[in-house]
């Protein structure tokens, strides 16, 4: 009896850890006011995973939001509101939906006129509901799940391209690049994390790829939280004779994929990440060495050819002694969008701000096919992924031409 | 000087005096039986001497050394070992290993321990079952195993807690013979708590009678069993094997 109980408890360990959660948020606790007097700071909420397994990105995103607020204040604040300054209220979602929900509630009670966040789709889902109920705009910097904006919410907007756009463009990019290189991709093996993110990417990518005349197979999935090795899956890819391996997953597993590719040498023409959390990250080539050479990632990415983005990268490096990553640049953009909307609405009333956000037309620091503009469901119509590749130990932008720092190298059979 | 000297030990639980100012001596090589009606405090006294409970007053001295309040394992290391009514074998290992563990804990080297254990196991009559998993032993066997384990620690004094309880009359005789042999051949000093009068009569050199936590009297078995105060204390109790 006791043993079964303990076994059940052991398997529910993640849930138990969640239940034990509850943090004191590191952010400033505001006076909880409702109306803004002239000269009083306008509060913006920044809700990200500052602890837990995504803390690396979460902390960067919060830092970038702080930088954006500082930059806007230094440039004179919101001029249409008498030079009113912005104030950032930081909060820790811990990566958990319930915590994100209660923190969002708290930020609104403390007077936030908008919220920026959150990184995990499950958290953003809850926060979107809170935002809708309280009629406070929520600008999503990073969260890929299509479902969040499929519920007719008027108060939620998303900057990153949706999962569907990422997956379809990923397939299209593969088709275009491989054809241009004279070796059109024929059979694509897929390795994806088993959660909603990886599965959605796999489904949409497969459909699009098949509509372009490519075949899919074999497909393998894994649990990102517990996987420790991919040599078996790589052996299966090798035996299948596929010519491309598509990978949809997170950072830790992406590193393991590279190691397994190096060990087993599946002999594919390319390893093709779609919205991959590892292959376009600056620390990836350093961590896996030659194993990651030539890896592609079709993903939204900070625009390294944009001088404003380069300036932000320098500022971030100087202040935080760390290289800024794409997610954080999105958070920076999100604050810019809110500031720009405040400027246009001339009012801190959340509903008026929301209406102004819906009319946004702003150049992005992220590589995109157009300026930031929001469609009827709140999706950013200018958002699109670009194609990155690891070349000579660095992640470079290769496609489309407007953002290319160098040409893509295809085929890019992983290093032996 | 006696080997074991218990002086004025007392212990109360929630205001009730379970053991009240009890003193006795045990000479080396002798056997002391402790008897008394139910609720007289025998088990508590036993636990106080053995270190399972700390006395609130009084001292326990073993071979001139004050061991009052010592933790059970320290009492064992000092040379006084007890057995339990509810036996506590190391269930999943063999009889031999049970005894060997005890020998090793007492300081014998690993190699010598198995030899010493084998001797003791034969001595207590468990030789036939020495490789049997101890959880497979019947009650009589477990009693002997407890004894064997206690002996492996090479005690000066052996405290036996109702060692004959749960045994049929046929099973009791060999155990009593064994106890006598232990005293005669190995010079082990024994203190035992017992309800079975025949055993007390046969084995003890002297008897301590407890009633309501206090010493009623002490003396030879004959003196004690013919004393009217003792008989009266037992009246109103269910007769417990007074005659066999």
């Amino acid at each position: 009896m006791r043993k079964t109980w303990i076994a059940g408890l052991a398997l529910a360990l993640p849930l138990a850890l969640a239940a034990c959660g509850g943090s004191t948020p590191p952010g400033t606790a505001g006076a909880g006011g409702a109306t803004k007097a002239a000269g009083e700071a306008i509060k913006i909420g920044s809700l990200h995973p500052l602890s837990g397994s995504s803390a690396a990105d979460g902390q960067q995103m919060d830092n970038a939001a702080k930088l954006a607020v500082e930059a806007i204040n230094a440039a004179g604040g919101i001029k249409s509101m008498g030079g009113a300054k912005l104030e950032l209220l930081s909060a820790d979602s811990q990566g958990k939906p319930e915590v994100g929900q209660s923190e969002a509630q708290r930020l609104i009670q403390e007077g936030a006129v908008s919220i920026v966040g959150t990184y995990q789709s499950a958290v953003s889902q809850n926060v979107a509901a809170v935002a809708e109920r309280n009629k406070v705009p929520f600008v999503i910097d990073v969260s890929s799940a299509d479902a969040i904006l499929a519920q007719g919410y008027k108060y939620s907007f998303r900057l990153q391209p949706s999962g569907t756009v990422l997956a379809e463009d990923g397939a299209q990019n593969l088709f275009d690049v491989s054809k241009a290189a004279g070796k059109p991709a024929k059979k694509i093996a897929i390795l994806h994390e088993q959660g909603p993110f990886g599965t959605a990417i796999k489904d949409t990518f497969s459909k699009k790829a098949q509509s372009l005349g490519m075949t899919i197979g074999p497909v393998a999935s894994y649990d990102a939280a517990s996987v420790s090795d991919f040599t078996t899956q790589m052996a299966a890819v090798k035996a299948s004779g596929s010519d491309v391996l598509m990978v949809a997953g997170y950072y830790r597993d992406g590193v393991l994929v590279a190691n397994a590719v190096k060990t087993v040498k599946p002999g594919v023409n390319a390893v093709w990440g779609v919205a991959n959390g590892a292959f376009d990250v600056p620390t990836f080539p350093g961590e896996v060495g030659a194993a990651g050479e030539g890896f592609f990632d079709s993903n939204y990415h900070l625009d390294g050819t944009n001088p404003d983005t380069q300036a932000l990268m320098k500022t971030y490096q100087a202040k935080y002694k760390d290289q800024i990553r794409t997610a954080a640049v999105l958070s920076y953009d999100a604050v810019r969008v809110i500031a720009d909307s405040l400027e246009r609405s001339g009012s801190a009333d959340p509903t008026k701000v929301r209406d102004a956000i819906a009319q946004t037309n702003l150049k992005s620091l992220i590589a995109s096919k157009g300026p930031i503009t929001f469609g009827p469901t709140g999706e950013n119509e200018g958002a699109a992924p670009i194609l990155m590749q690891v070349q000579s130990g660095k992640v470079v932008q290769t496609f489309p031409k407007e953002f290319a720092q160098t040409a893509p190298r295809y085929p890019a059979t992983p290093a032996s | 000087m006696s080997l074991l000297e218990v002086r004025n030990v007392s212990r109360s639980f929630q205001g009730l005096k379970a053991v009240d100012d009890v003193s006795f001596d045990v000479k080396e090589g002798s056997i002391l039986g402790i008897i008394g009606p139910n609720g007289a405090g025998k088990t508590t006294l036993f636990n106080l001497v053995a270190g399972a409970i700390t006395p609130q007053a009084g001292t326990v001295t073993l071979d001139g050394r004050d061991i009052t309040g010592f933790a059970p394992h320290k009492v064992a290391q000092a040379g006084m070992v007890r057995t339990f009514q509810l036996m506590k074998p190391f269930g999943s290992v063999s009889v031999l290993e049970n005894v060997a563990v005890a020998a090793m804990a007492a300081g014998t080297s690993r190699h010598d321990a198995s030899k010493a254990a084998a001797q003791i196991v034969e001595r207590v009559g468990l030789g036939r079952w020495r490789d049997l998993q101890s959880s497979g032993l019947p009650t009589a066997g477990l009693k002997r195993l407890e004894l064997a384990r206690a002996l492996a620690v090479r005690p000066r004094v052996l405290l036996l807690d109702e060692v004959l309880a749960g045994l049929t009359p046929t099973e009791r005789a060999p155990v009593m013979e064994l106890l006598e042999a232990l005293r005669a051949e190995d010079g082990v000093t024994l203190v035992f708590v017992e309800h079975i009068m025949a055993a007390v009569m046969r084995l003890s050199d002297s008897v301590l009678v407890l009633d309501q936590g206090r010493v009623l009297m002490s003396g030879s078995p004959q003196e004690v069993t013919s004393d009217p105060r003792v008989i009266e204390a037992y009246l109103g109790q269910e007769p417990t094997d007074v005659a066999t």
């Binding site: 360990l13 088993q194 999935s221 078996t232 299966a236 830790r252 393991l256 961590e287 | 497979g136």
Partner: protein
């Protein structure tokens, strides 16, 4: 108090019967169960071959599964030892492993040594840390309700996670074993780092087994696990044994941490991954049984890899779950556990 002793022993013999083998203090290996287990795997591998249609792939799965399983076993051995003796489900086990990861990272980045050298620092440090934690944090909770101990180890895990986060930051780190190439073994391939991890894990597991079976300390540990009061009766200082056992268990986690350091991305939460697997292995192998933990680790490792071949579209965790439930259904006390 559990009646388990952390070792393998012979099944119960009927009353009155006995063996006449010479007095040995060895525990006996249950050969029938081992044979059944091996037979099960031969069948499983044959099925995987049919499913995958390719010998190379199956060979790879078996090799990887065994190599990973050995390390799982080492982690689980420490955890099961702690449970068998102290009756504590140690939720902080994975966190201790993470501490060892960071010790390795620090040593490699500051001193530039081969990661394996960190074993000589991490194992003693983790041993002392475990002893200290047991003595000062857990000892007070012994004998109190089980829930108290669980909450304390849970709280400890969160504390360690956050201390690591504050000290080392959330950015992922890594260490590399110099000269880490792929090695061909029976038509499959494995990296040197994974082979070394397996090899050292097996050696440490063997050392632990010898410690438990052949030394005085090990015998005392097994006695306390079997019957605490009985152990006290024969003069064993149970408090000292608790401290030593927890220290040994934590040292196992520490050793495993050093061994896997070149194989994982190192973040403060990396330990949690091993926590979950270790618990599954411990329950599967029989709580408190050290051999069960090693065998269970190998089984889980193999199941994970073969499962990827059986159900390629599904996560290998599904196969692990299936095997776990199956074993517990047929034998609720775990493969090597004692029926309660």
């Amino acid at each position: 108090m559990t009646e388990q002793i952390p070792s393998a022993t012979a099944p119960t013999v009927a009353e009155g019967e006995g063996h006449t083998s010479s007095p040995r203090l060895w525990a006996r290996v249950p050969w029938t169960r081992v044979a059944i287990g091996v037979g099960f795997f031969v069948v499983a591998i044959a099925l995987a071959y049919l499913r995958a249609g390719n010998g190379d792939v199956v060979r790879q799965a078996v090799l990887t599964g065994i190599l990973i399983g050995g390390v799982y076993g080492l982690v689980a051995m420490g955890l099961t030892l702690i449970f068998g003796v102290l009756d504590i489900v140690n939720f902080a086990h994975g966190a201790f492993l993470a501490v060892a990861l960071y010790i390795t990272v620090t040593m490699v980045s500051r001193l530039g040594v081969n990661p394996l050298v960190a074993l000589f620092v991490a194992v003693p440090v983790m041993f002392l840390l475990g002893a200290g934690v047991q003595r000062f944090v857990l000892a007070g909770a012994m004998g109190k309700p089980l829930e108290n101990q669980l909450l304390i180890t849970l709280g400890l895990a969160l504390l360690i996670d956050n201390v690591l986060l504050m000290s080392f930051g959330p950015n992922p780190q890594s260490v590399k074993l110099p000269g880490d190439t792929g090695v061909q073994i029976f038509g499959a391939v494995a990296t040197v780092s994974r082979l070394l991890a397996f090899g050292v894990a097996i050696v440490l597991a063997a050392l632990l087994y010898v410690l438990l079976q052949r030394t005085r300390l090990g015998t005392a540990i097994r006695a306390v696990a079997a019957n605490e009061a009985g152990a006290q009766l024969v003069g064993i200082d149970t408090r000292r044994i608790y401290m030593a056992t927890f220290a040994i268990g934590t040292a196992c986690a520490g050793a495993a941490g050093v061994l896997v350091a070149p194989l994982v991305t190192i973040e403060p939460t990396t330990g949690e991954l091993f926590n979950i697997i270790a618990f599954v292995v411990v329950v599967l192998g029989g709580m408190g049984n050290v051999i069960g933990a090693l065998v269970g680790g190998l089984i889980i490792g193999l199941t994970e890899q073969l499962g990827a071949l059986y159900f390629p579209g599904q996560s290998p965790l599904l196969s692990v779950f299936v095997v776990f439930v199956l074993v517990l259904f047929l034998r609720p006390q775990g493969l090597f556990g004692k029926a309660s």
